[in-house]
């Protein structure tokens, strides 16, 4: 936020109070609009929380009353026990964690090869990665399913991990970052007799924390919020992830919006907490990769 600002015209000579007044009126206006947008962005979450503490009769009757008079905290234990929520948490965490670790490892290795090593056909293979990135997931969805079926992986978490693990985006992202690291560092290490893996592990990776962090967040979010793959692959309730779990809950408790809101709140808590703690990385990761992509 330290860079220059459109509306903060420091260098413009100011002609007395008139301009000062206009300026502060303008920033008041800006503030007002920002606030309204913020309310619009947050309102659905507030409605969700508030609804989760009401009952079927009051949720729509006084939906303007966002702080319920008699908060019904027992909606939460009810939701928690009516479907195996703890299991959903565990399954989602497990899948997201393994997917992320796998993606980061394989992508970093490949990105290092593309950015810092020489081998015949390098650029052609890299072009293949880029081209693959252009192809929508839906194209691969059906053959992937057939493949998993033939490998006997229907109704397992392995299938969910494998379909996400090799997305070329990670390779692309890290390669672009590795390119910005000067070669002098690795060259001198090479002269000292370091192996390529040592250079990769001890020099390049520590310098790439920002990019790795971005990839971790992307991959984590992507896997955590995945809906279509669990929908395709999982039949057994005990294997469900949060996203299919919440859909399942929605079907089970059709008209009980207060319980559905409680379940949705439960499903969102982990990701919102992680987001609030790591928001800097989320937002900076998005804005930088967004630009470079």
């Amino acid at each position: 936020m330290k860079q220059s600002n459109v509306l903060d015209n420091k260098n413009i000579p100011q002609n007395g109070n008139n301009i000062k007044l206009r300026k502060s009126l303008f920033s008041l206006f800006t503030y007002f609009i920002l606030l309204i947008v913020a309310v619009v962005m947050v309102m659905p979450f507030v409605w969700m929380l508030s609804g989760s503490l009401k009952d079927a009769a009051t949720i729509f009757q006084d939906s303007m009353n966002l702080i319920p008079d008699n908060p019904r905290w027992d909606n939460y234990p009810k939701v928690w026990t009516s479907v195996p929520f703890a299991m959903f948490y565990w399954n989602t965490t497990k899948v997201a964690f393994l997917t992320t670790v796998g993606t980061v490892l394989t992508s970093a290795l490949a990105a290092y090869a593309f950015a810092k090593l020489e081998f015949p056909g390098r650029d052609k293979i890299f072009f293949l990665y880029i081209a693959t990135m252009m192809i929508p997931d839906q194209v691969t969805m059906i053959p992937q399913f057939v493949l998993m079926r033939d490998l006997g992986l229907i109704n397992t978490h392995t299938a969910l991990i494998l379909v996400k693990l090799f997305h070329p985006f990670g390779v692309f992202l890290l390669r672009q970052f590795f390119l910005t690291i000067p070669n002098e560092l690795s060259d001198s290490a090479r002269i000292d007799g370091c192996s390529e893996f040592r250079i990769f592990w001890n020099i390049i990776l520590p310098l790439s924390k920002a990019a790795l962090g971005t990839l971790v967040i992307f991959s984590l979010l992507n896997s955590w919020n995945d809906f279509i793959n669990p929908l395709i692959y999982l039949s057994d309730q005990s294997l469900f992830t949060l996203q299919v779990g919440i859909r399942y809950f929605q079907q089970l408790y059709g008209a009980d919006y207060h319980l559905i809101m409680a379940a949705t709140t439960l499903s969102l808590i982990p990701i919102i907490i992680v987001y609030l703690f790591a928001q800097k990385y989320f937002i900076e990761g998005i804005s930088t990769t967004g630009l470079k992509g």
Partner: protein, 289 residues
Amino acid sequence: MKRFNKKYLVAFMFLLPSLIGLSIFVLYPILASLVMSFTNWDGLTPMKFNGIENYIQLWKDETFKISLINNFYYTGVSVPLTIIFSVLLAIMMNAKVKGIGVFRVLYFLPNVTAAIAVGVIWSSMFTKEGPINQVIALFIENPPHWLGSSLWAMPAIIIVSVWKGVGYFAIILLAGLQGIPHHLYEAATIDGANKWKQFIHVTVPVLSPVIFFCTIMAMISSFQVFDTIVAMTEGGPGRATNVLVYHIYNTAFLDFEFGYASAMSYILFIIILLVTIIQFRTQKRWVHY
């Protein structure tokens, strides 16, 4: 010579895990899908090639056409709205006001939450007596039935997708805004340009590559909308919100028409490719690097 080979070998070792995985789980499926699209395979009985039959069939398939039209409608409205709002929002966020960090966090929040949860929340807000209609009822007499009406179901979905997407693109655009060199504005001011002229003649042209990038990203993802549809309308009422990927999913995993669904997925790919190419072709007219 020998040394070089070793060097290559090491490089391939680094590449191998990713390349093998990519080949098996991405590249092979891409080709398999293409082959499948020329068969009538149902995933169960033996595969039979039927040439371009599927593609001819698609041409006559009313539901496919409807899903295509719906998807163009969704894209055509949601993408411009998302981009316009995110540009405005980015400019607002660029203002030096207190607590801007908090705003950024709040704006971005919808984007990290799962589309399925978002759909569930909004579908409860769009009910006949829900909060949205309670607000609208203050102004008009008969608020729309939203998800219960062919006319209003798609606008409801669009509202949700704009709400979810705006924060994401605003943040990318904000980064672009902050990269605009200050002297450009100074020069404009000296030339006597007011705020609006500065916006049109400085901000938009300099920001145009970022806007261009955002538009492409938004378009591509708008052709892949699925989760929100499942949570909010299941393609209904009737076929009013049946979009491309929803139709592909149903054809593949409910009707088990793998061949036919693969053909649809290739059409989706071609559409995305065409949209991207057209954008790149026309960018010369409005994108300034």
